[in-house]
């Protein structure tokens, strides 16, 4: 059994984010005119690296393998929360480093890094949230800084408009979600996930409709956070309008945060075995997964703007990750369920690197002010070959080709879906993956094959942005063998939820 001191150590990943945010507050208070923002970025990046190191050490040491409840069960630290905090730490570090060059000329740098670390704090709490109250508070802590971050370029119409749409949909869906939570409380008398689960069969039978509508509304709130249909409308506009590093942060870390809380709320709080008669959420997620991945991939295929294509592809990937919930039909037994849920976590893990890297490459191109369409990328391979090799790795890994971890995580996911007794979901996913190869390879073709319309005239090769892009690329490639070694962590984390 863990002692009191160790309980606090278990929260060290979240504490790393909090300390980084507090340090940024202090620096901003004493030296508001820090010229290049390097110090601020370093503090945020160190916070991210500390969080990922702490969660990595805790994960490998296995102290929290069975899940340790803190604060009377409000928070739980287990394999899944540590795995996702590792993702948030990595993405925060990559985005902070890349932002040094991206926002070099812009004011309010301290606020920018502050909002990133505060949002990351909210995400790491979301990963540990074990009661609906904490879910809502942590969700808002990660969402509110994100709205402000999207509007960071406050004289840019696209940035402001993206933030407005993100905020409008976000405020609506959080209102719907908290009403859903209140209905679940009305039906069960508790907000703790374990108590909600044990109340499902008892008194809540008096109010099956209230409970079902409440759960449906909570799922709506989660769909917003994961950018899944039907609350996906904000994603393309927010990602396109936002500064590219912020888009990287939102589409990777924020999405993963939405999924980790969806996994825990639905699997722990509303086990499908007891709630199937009220609201069969597995069936609901089967529909959502198919619609989300198909809509995301078809819309991505029609885009002319690379950033918007990546935004829709990120909706498509939300559809793949939803398979982890949609395949919990209990047809293949608990082992198969843990496998497919773990595969979904692994996919979000790899996605955290490859998608962040792809958006950071867009940040690099925006930094060069080359434009945003596929044509603007023509001939980039000759001018910036190293970065373009990295981008090629990202998009092919996103498509599921065996150049990066994306191949293995998709393989695990589809194989897991087959093992869990829903082979048709794997088939839809595979068809969508094949389609996605079309629009991903358009980027590669533009970069390496098409000649540029006019000389690109790239003069600066920003060090920090390059470092972030290349780190993401190296990790994406290393995850191909790495996933084979470390996949057990995700499967065990998933198995401990059931």
């Amino acid at each position: 059994m863990v002692t009191m001191a160790n309980e606090w150590l278990l929260l060290s990943p979240a504490a790393a984010f909090v300390l980084a945010a507090l340090a940024l507050f202090v620096i901003d208070a004493f030296a508001p005119e820090d010229a290049d923002g390097g110090l601020l970025a370093a503090v945020a990046a160190v916070g991210g690296i500390a969080a990922l190191s702490a969660s990595g050490v805790l994960l490998l040491s296995g102290v929290a393998a069975d899940g340790v409840e803190l604060f009377g069960g409000q928070l739980v630290v287990d394999g899944m929360s540590l795995l996702f905090t590792f993702i948030f730490g990595s993405v925060t570090a990559l985005v902070s480093v890349a932002s040094v060059d991206y926002i070099r000329e812009l004011p309010h740098k301290a606020e920018y890094y502050l909002l990133v670390t505060l949002a990351a704090t909210g995400m790491s709490l979301l990963a540990s949230a074990n009661s609906l109250a904490v879910v809502f508070v942590a969700l808002e802590l990660s969402s509110l800084p994100s709205y402000a971050l999207v509007a960071y370029l406050k004289r840019n119409r696209g940035s402001v408009e993206g933030a407005l749409k993100y905020f409008l949909v976000g405020a609506l869906s959080s209102g719907i979600m908290v009403y859903g939570i209140s209905l679940v409380y009305a039906a069960t008398g508790s907000l703790l996930l374990s108590d909600v689960a044990s109340a499902l069969g008892g008194a809540s039978a008096d109010y099956p409709g209230v409970l079902g509508v409440g759960l449906l509304m909570i799922v709506g709130g989660l769909a917003f956070k994961t950018a899944s249909v039907p609350f996906h409308f904000w994603a393309p506009d927010a990602y396109e309008g936002a500064p590219a590093p912020v888009a990287a942060f939102l589409s990777s870390a924020s999405k993963a945060a939405g999924f980790v809380v969806a996994f825990r709320v639905l699997v722990v709080g509303f086990p499908i075995g007891t709630i199937a008669g009220t609201l069969d959420w597995v069936l609901l997620f089967q529909v959502l997964a198919v619609v989300t991945m198909t809509l995301g991939n078809f819309a991505a295929a029609t885009q002319e703007n690379v950033k918007r294509m990546l935004a829709y592809s990120s909706i498509g990937h939300a559809g793949y990750a939803l398979i982890g919930l949609a395949a919990l039909t209990n047809a293949g037994g608990p082992g198969a369920e843990a496998t497919v849920l773990g595969a979904s976590m692994l996919h979000l893990f790899v996605y955290g690197f490859m998608n962040t890297g792809a958006f950071l490459f867009v940040a690099l191109v925006e930094h060069w002010e080359l434009g945003r369409t596929f044509e603007d990328y023509n001939g980039l391979g000759r001018e910036a070959p190293v970065a373009c090799v990295a981008m090629t790795v990202f998009v092919f890994s996103l498509a599921g080709l065996p150049v990066g971890g994306g191949f293995l995580s998709k393989y695990f996911l589809f194989a897991g879906a087959v093992g869990a007794g829903v082979p048709w979901l794997a088939l839809v996913g595979a068809v969508n993956s094949a389609l996605s190869l079309y629009y991903y390879s358009r980027v590669v073709k533009a970069m390496w094959i098409e000649p540029p319309a006019e000389p690109l005239g790239i003069e600066r090769y920003p060090t920090a942005l390059y470092a972030a892009v290349l780190t993401a690329a190296v990790v994406t490639v290393l995850l191909l063998p790495g996933l084979v070694v470390f996949d057990g962590i995700a499967f065990e984390a998933a198995a401990s939820l059931f």
Binding site: A133, F136, V137, E140, L144, Y147, A148, A151, K154, R155, N156, R157, G158, V160, E161, G162, A163, L164, K165, F167, L168, A171, L172, S174, G175, I176, V178, Y179, I181, S182, L183, Y185, A186, G189, S190, L191, V210, P236, D237, E240, G241, A299, T302, Q303, R308
Partner: protein, 104 residues
């Protein structure tokens, strides 16, 4: 006990009515500030449920959570007003349907 005279279901009806008014406002009004007010109605509909059912179940979980919701509603409006302000500066209007530079 108040709830012996007013059944718990009545509170559900009240909160559902408030929620629907808020949702109607969000879907039909174009002014971003009215949108913010409508979101407040959604959150307060939830608060009615939370407080009423805290009495029904005899625990204070719901009441405590309602306090958190009130605080978060204030934070959300603060960020929202900020965004509405930059929207007004860039588009000279707070009509949410005016900002259409991004299209599919």
């Amino acid at each position: 006990m108040v709830l012996e005279t007013v059944p718990a279901e009545y509170y559900l009806v009240l909160s559902a009515a408030v929620f629907c008014i808020g949702l109607f406002g969000i879907l039909t009004r174009r002014n971003a500030l009215v949108f913010l007010m409508s979101v407040e109605l959604l959150l307060n509909a939830a608060n009615v449920n939370l407080v009423a059912f805290a009495f029904y179940w005899g625990n204070v979980t719901g009441q405590t959570f309602a306090l958190f919701v009130i605080a978060l509603a204030a934070a959300e409006v603060a960020v929202g007003i900020g965004i509405v302000l930059v929207v007004h500066r860039n588009f000279d209007d707070v009509d949410v349907t005016n900002a259409t530079t991004l299209k599919w």
